[in-house]
Every structure is written in structure tokens, then in C-alpha cells.
């Protein structure tokens, strides 16, 4: 039997289109891309079963004429799983739409925050340039001891000028 060219071409086309859609930022397209990829994989499984044959039912066909039932069982399982996951994703897309009115893949805010942080490290800032509230922990002036506020309480700074004296 000559191998068919149709299935590989379809599988390849579906994979290509699926990957293209999956790379989009719009979630609906991502979902569609996922469905295409799922179908492509199912076709791939179907094609690994070898040449087609009669239905694999005992008494209906001889063992030699039957098609391989195992890939079909695998495909059925895979279809059910794909179906369930697609339904769940639709629900999530809907939820995303309800919450933030967009159906794009969201940005990780904390990630942006960390990225923004990294261009100037806290240690590079000169503490004396900052407002008292912003000074790093442990910096003498960050304790906000104002003149007069603590009069009568002996300072535990030995031989250091007090914050206000500088």
C-alpha cells in the first residue's frame, strides 16, 4: 500500500496555523490555536495506526483486516480531555473579560515592578539626598529623631554627632 500524502499535509498545516494563532496575545485566538493543535495531534495519532481497515469488532472482521483500535481509543480520550480544557479556558476568558474588560494575556505587574527597580539599585542612592522617610533602614537619619523630641533620653550613640547637629 502506498502511504497517503493527505494526512501529513493536513497535520502540518494544522500545526502551523495552530502555532501561529497560539502566539497571538488575544485569548480567543489562543484558544482557537489550541483547538487546531489538538486536532492536529489527534490526526497524528490516527495516522500512526497504520493503513485503514474494517471496524475492529470481533465477528465482524478478520483480525488481519481490522484497523488498529488502540490509537482510536487514545484519540477518544484525548478528545474528551481537549474538550474539557477548552470549556474551562472559555470560562476563564469570559471571567477575564468580565473582570478587566479585555481578553488579552495580562502583564505580570510584579515582574514589571522588579524590572523597573533594577535600573537603579537602592544602595546606589545617596541617603542624604532622600527625604527622611525614604532612607534605608539603619541609616542614622532614618530614625527621625528631631531636636527636642527626645530631650532627656540619653542617646546610645557614642561619640557620634546627633542627627540635628550635623
Amino acid at each position: 500500500m502506498t502511504p497517503t500524502i493527505v494526512l501529513p499535509v493536513i497535520i502540518g498545516g494544522l500545526y502551523a496555523a495552530g502555532v501561529y494563532l497560539l502566539l497571538d496575545r488575544s485569548l480567543t485566538r489562543v484558544l482557537l490555536g489550541f483547538l487546531l493543535l489538538g486536532n492536529a495531534t489527534n490526526l497524528l495519532l490516527l495516522s500512526v495506526g497504520g493503513p485503514g481497515g474494517l471496524a475492529p469488532i470481533l465477528g465482524y472482521a478478520e483480525a488481519e483486516e481490522m484497523s488498529d483500535p488502540l490509537p482510536q481509543a487514545l484519540i477518544l480520550t484525548a478528545i474528551v480531555i481537549t474538550f474539557g480544557v477548552a470549556a474551562f479556558m472559555l470560562a476563564m476568558i469570559h471571567r477575564s473579560w468580565r473582570l478587566v474588560n479585555e481578553e488579552n494575556v495580562g502583564t505580570d505587574e510584579e515582574d514589571r515592578r522588579v524590572a523597573a527597580r533594577s535600573d537603579t539599585d537602592a544602595d546606589e542612592l545617596d541617603p542624604d539626598d532622600l527625604a527622611p522617610e525614604d532612607r534605608p533602614a539603619g541609616h542614622a537619619d532614618s530614625l527621625r529623631i528631631r531636636a527636642g523630641a527626645v530631650r532627656g533620653i540619653p542617646s546610645d550613640d557614642v561619640d557620634l554627632p546627633s542627627a540635628s547637629a550635623r
Binding site: 474551562f88 505587574e109 524590572a115
Partner: protein, 570 residues
């Protein structure tokens, strides 16, 4: 007897899930039922481990179908050990979640779906560990992934949906790659039974073997979060509730690691891609831990250390010696326990301090010394300070690397030491800032930038909300400050959904109250910390068990013979 017991770790949680669904209106009954089920699973797993260690591997044909036709479950030392650690950790997390739910008064909220989903997750994990054929492994993965999708997006808030979508799409991709690989494996060999594959795959041309192996590895490496395929993890895990993140961090990635171990030892023992794995391990360790150091949120730090330490296990697998595998197996057991515990502690920290952002926390050691101990012990264990199990695991891996002696292995040994050191830095920063910094200097006043980031881009120049959400405090009007604010606005055009900020503002409002930590949650976390310490105490026997499991894996015959006569498999 193993034949009767082996399906139970899968069956019991599934039946339990059905049961908890039925009694969904009675949260008390639901809680008792799921705890009882997990205790039963744990006891069954312990018995299975003892029997597997004494009698060797055993295979069970489900439904009585003869071997190449039906589904087999295989209990060997590795899978039984994984089952025991996984179910112990799952039980701990469940009790923690029950404690959390009870104190938060979740009886009113429609969260009855948590317990069934959690049990389904446990069933999926057990199924993946026990699976004796490739497709059953796929089904196990799908069960646990489906449950994890639900758990990760529990409550459906905007950050969770955002993180969840990334997670779902990436997991789907890995599942599709896995499924396609199964198809190709079947096309090449005509079977999906692991034992039969072990015999038949070796007869294929080398090129085909490498193709199949790399497809399977890509699928598993996405699940295990090995470096080039790990970006999804720190993005999605930190958004989930504490118990969920804890169980994900402990179990899900390790199922991927387990699958990699099986693929590398049973199916493709030739070591064709060992070099690739070693390089990936090095990159995972270093890039993961550098990411952790950059973060300022405890959960994100922990997520990055999770990625980083996966590298140790992959290193052990890549060595492909008995010593390397033994180290990897011991490390998996250690890391499941330790990472789960740390994420639970992060949950407690959030409860105590109102946030997990290190910049906002302070004075925790004074507020709750017990919490400080609960954080300190596993944190040092994670960093690999002697005498903890983390040290023993790392030492075993490093010795295996030195014994192997190739230049790449030595580079990895050096990388492992550096990673361990950097882990120490990452956790020590949390320790000094969140626990020891005086509370008065606490939230967001660390740097001007942190203060600005708290306020978000919408705050007018020069005005920053105080850490306690009270009246705005006027900060310096200097040009530098304005420029910094402008830079912040530029950097976060996209960011800061208002809802998340409102949440945080509320948290900040009640910052100054000292929250008493609920006893159940403290006790559970304490028990898990005790478990991690116990892993240190029993490290000798445990390492012996890991070595025996590694020897079995290297030999392959115990696994094959447990399933069927090798002649039948051919």
C-alpha cells in the same frame, strides 16, 4: 497484597472526591472525609514502600488483562517513595487549608469545590507515579493538571485569572507535545507499555530514538520547569492561595522530575541527551537563583528558588550514574517537603504581617518568635546548611559529580555550590528584613523607589501614600525624585490594576493589629517543619533507600521482570 493495595492511592482519592462532592453542603463532614481519605492514602503508601523495599518491584494488571494489552501499575522503590512523600505533604497541606478555612469563616463562601478538586489532584499525582504505561502517565498528568487549573484560579480574582491563563496555556502545550510524542512512540514500536518500550525502543535507529527522547523530555521539562521552559512558573504560582501554591510547588514539578527520571533510566538508558540535560541543569540552577535574588516578594523568591533547585535534580539525572540518581531521588524527597513547608510559612507570614512583600514587612521575629523559627529552620535547610537534609542531598550530588569527573560535571559541581550560596543570600535577605528589621521602619520606606511603586503611577508627583494608608506624606520635592517618579510611570504604563491595589490598601489598613495565628495552621506548619527535620534524622536509611532505588533504575531488570517475562515483552 501489593496487588490489592497498589490501585488504592488512585482509587481512594477519586472516591473521596465523589464523596466530598456529595456532602458539599456540610463543610464539616467534607473536611473530615477528605482528611480521612488522605490519611488512608498515606498509610497505604507507607505499606507499599515497605513491601517494595523488602520484596522489590511489583506490577499489577488492572482489570486482570494480560500484560501487553491491559494497563499496569508498577510499584517499585522509586514510585513508592514518591507516593509516601507526596501523600504526607498533601495531608499536611490539606489540614493547613482546613485550618485556614475554619478561621476565615469560609462556611459562607461557595468553596465546597476545594476538597474534591484537591483529592482529584492527589489521585492524578498518584496515578502518574504508579503508571506503568505511557498513556496512563499522560492521563495522570491530565487529571492533576485539570485539578490544578481549578485550584489555581480558585475564587477567580483578576490576578489569579491572569496567572492562571499563562499556566493553562503552557500546560496545554506541554500536554500536546507529550501526546504527539506518545503517537510517534506508538508508531515506532507498536506499544505504549513502559516495560515493553524499554525493550523495543533500544532496537530503533539512533536518530529515531533521539527524536522520541527529546520530544518526551521537552514535555516533561515544561512540567518540571527546567530552565528554558520555566518562565511560566514564577509568573503563575505566587497568585494562588497559600495552601494551593504550597502543594503545587511541592508536587507538580516533582511529577515532571519523576517522569524525566523514568524516561532517562528506563526508556533511554543510552545517555544520548545527558550533556543537554546537564547544561539545562546548570542554567536552571543559576538563572533561577539569580531571579530569586532580584525579587522582593517572599512567594516570588520561593518560586524562583523552586525553579533553581529543580536544576540539582536534573543535574543528578544527567550524571546517569547510580550515585547521581540516588542523590537526585533523595533531593526530590527532600525538596517536596521543604518547598511545601516554606510556601505554607509564607502563607503564615502574609497572615501575620498583612503582605508577602519583603519591603512592607518588619519586626516579625518580635511579633511571632514561633513563626520566625518555622521560617528559619526550613530556610536554612533549603540553602543547604549542615546538618540539614538539604546539605546531605547537595553533598551527595556534588560527590557524584566529582566522582564522574568529566569537565562538565565539575563545572556543574561549582555551579551547585554557587547556587547554594546564592540561595542562602536570598533567604537571608528575607530573614533579616522581614523578621529582624524594626517594625517602625517597615513598610515601603525602604527606598524612594519602593515608596513610589507602592503608590503606583497615579499618585501625583511628590506625594506618596503612607505605608499605613493614612494621610499622604509629603516627600522631598527634589528634581531627582520627580525624575524617578516619571521613570516609574514610564515603566508601568501597563501595570497596576486598581483592584489589586485596593486589596493591598485594605491589608495595609489593618497592618498594625497583631493577628494571632490560628493554632491549626501553626501546628500543621510545625508538623511539616518537623517532617523536614525528620528527613535529616532518618537521612541515613533514606539515602540507603534512594541508593537502592537508583541501582534498580540503572539495572532496569527489576522493573521489567516485575511486569512480565522479558521474552513476552519482545
Amino acid at each position: 497484597m501489593t496487588g490489592v493495595l497498589a490501585p488504592l492511592p488512585v482509587l481512594l482519592p477519586l472516591l473521596g472526591a465523589a464523596g466530598t462532592l456529595l456532602v458539599g453542603r456540610h463543610p464539616a463532614v467534607q473536611r473530615v472525609l477528605s482528611v480521612v481519605v488522605l490519611i488512608a492514602v498515606l498509610s497505604v503508601s507507607v505499606v507499599l514502600l515497605l513491601r517494595a523495599d523488602a520484596l522489590g518491584a511489583t506490577a499489577v494488571s488492572v482489570g486482570g488483562w494480560p500484560v501487553p494489552l491491559g494497563i499496569v501499575l508498577v510499584v517499585d522503590r522509586l514510585s513508592a517513595l514518591m507516593l509516601v512523600v507526596a501523600s504526607a505533604v498533601a495531608l499536611g497541606v490539606l489540614v493547613f487549608a482546613v485550618g485556614q478555612g475554619a478561621t476565615d469563616g469560609s462556611e459562607q463562601t461557595p468553596l465546597s469545590v476545594f476538597h474534591p478538586t484537591f483529592l482529584v489532584l492527589v489521585a492524578g499525582v498518584s496515578n502518574a507515579f504508579l503508571a506503568g504505561d505511557l498513556f496512563n502517565l499522560y492521563v495522570g498528568f491530565e487529571i492533576l493538571l485539570m485539578a490544578s487549573y481549578v485550584l489555581l484560579t480558585l475564587g477567580g480574582t483578576a490576578p489569579r485569572i491572569r496567572g492562571g491563563i499563562t499556566y493553562v496555556v503552557v500546560s496545554l502545550m506541554s500536554s500536546l507535545v507529550f501526546l504527539a510524542a506518545i503517537g510517534l512512540v506508538y508508531a515506532a514500536t507498536g506499544t505504549v507499555n513502559l516495560a515493553q518500550l524499554a525493550v523495543r525502543l533500544g532496537e530503533l535507529p539512533a536518530g529515531t530514538q533521539v527524536l522520541l527522547q527529546s520530544m518526551l523530555l521537552v514535555a516533561f521539562c515544561i512540567k518540571a520547569a527546567v530552565f528554558p521552559l520555566s518562565a511560566w512558573l514564577p509568573d503563575s504560582y505566587p497568585t494562588a492561595p497559600a495552601p494551593v501554591t504550597a502543594v503545587f510547588a511541592g508536587l507538580l514539578t516533582k511529577v515532571g522530575v519523576y517522569a524525566i527520571i523514568r524516561t532517562q533510566t528506563l526508556l533511554f538508558p543510552g545517555g544520548a541527551l545527558d550533556t543537554v540535560l546537564m547544561c539545562a541543569a546548570l542554567a536552571t540552577m543559576l538563572i533561577g537563583i539569580l531571579g530569586a535574588i532580584a525579587q522582593t516578594d517572599i512567594r516570588r523568591i520561593l518560586s524562583f528558588t523552586l525553579v533553581s533547585h529543580i536544576g540539582y535534580m536534573v543535574f543528578g539525572i544527567g550524571l546517569a550514574t547510580s550515585a547521581g540518581l540516588a542523590g537526585a531521588i533523595f533531593y526530590v524527597a527532600h525538596h517536596i517537603a521543604i518547598q511545601t513547608t516554606l510556601f505554607l510559612v509564607a502563607g503564615l507570614v502574609e497572615r501575620q504581617g498583612g503582605s508577602t512583600a519583603v519591603d512592607r514587612l518588619g519586626g516579625l521575629a518580635k511579633a511571632s518568635p514561633l513563626l520566625a523559627v518555622l521560617f528559619f529552620v526550613p530556610a536554612m535547610n533549603l540553602a543547604g546548611i549542615p546538618p540539614f537534609s538539604g546539605f546531605i542531598g547537595k553533598l551527595g550530588l556534588l560527590r557524584a559529580g566529582v566522582a564522574e569527573g568529566s569537565p562538565l560535571a565539575l563545572v556543574l559541581v561549582a555551579g551547585g555550590v554557587v547556587t547554594s550560596l546564592l540561595t542562602l543570600i536570598a533567604v537571608a535577605r528575607v530573614w533579616t528584613r522581614a523578621f529582624w528589621r524594626p517594625r517602625t521602619q517597615q513598610p515601603g520606606r525602604d527606598t524612594a523607589r519602593a515608596a513610589a511603586s507602592d503608590a503606583g503611577p497615579d499618585t501625583p508627583d511628590g506625594e506618596v501614600t503612607d505605608g499605613n494608608g493614612s494621610a499622604p506624606v509629603l516627600v522631598g520635592q527634589s528634581a531627582r525624585r520627580a525624575a524617578r517618579q516619571a521613570a516609574w510611570v514610564r515603566h508601568t504604563q501597563v501595570a497596576t490594576a486598581s483592584e489589586a491595589d485596593d486589596d493591598r490598601a485594605e491589608e495595609r489598613d489593618d497592618d498594625d493589629e497583631v493577628h494571632p495565628l490560628p493554632g491549626v495552621m501553626l501546628a500543621t506548619t510545625g508538623a511539616l517543619v518537623a517532617l523536614t527535620v525528620a528527613l535529616t534524622v532518618i537521612a541515613g536509611p533514606l539515602y540507603g533507600l534512594a541508593s537502592r532505588a537508583a541501582d534498580d533504575l540503572r539495572e532496569r531488570t527489576p522493573y521489567l521482570e516485575s511486569v512480565a517475562d522479558v521474552a513476552v515483552l519482545r
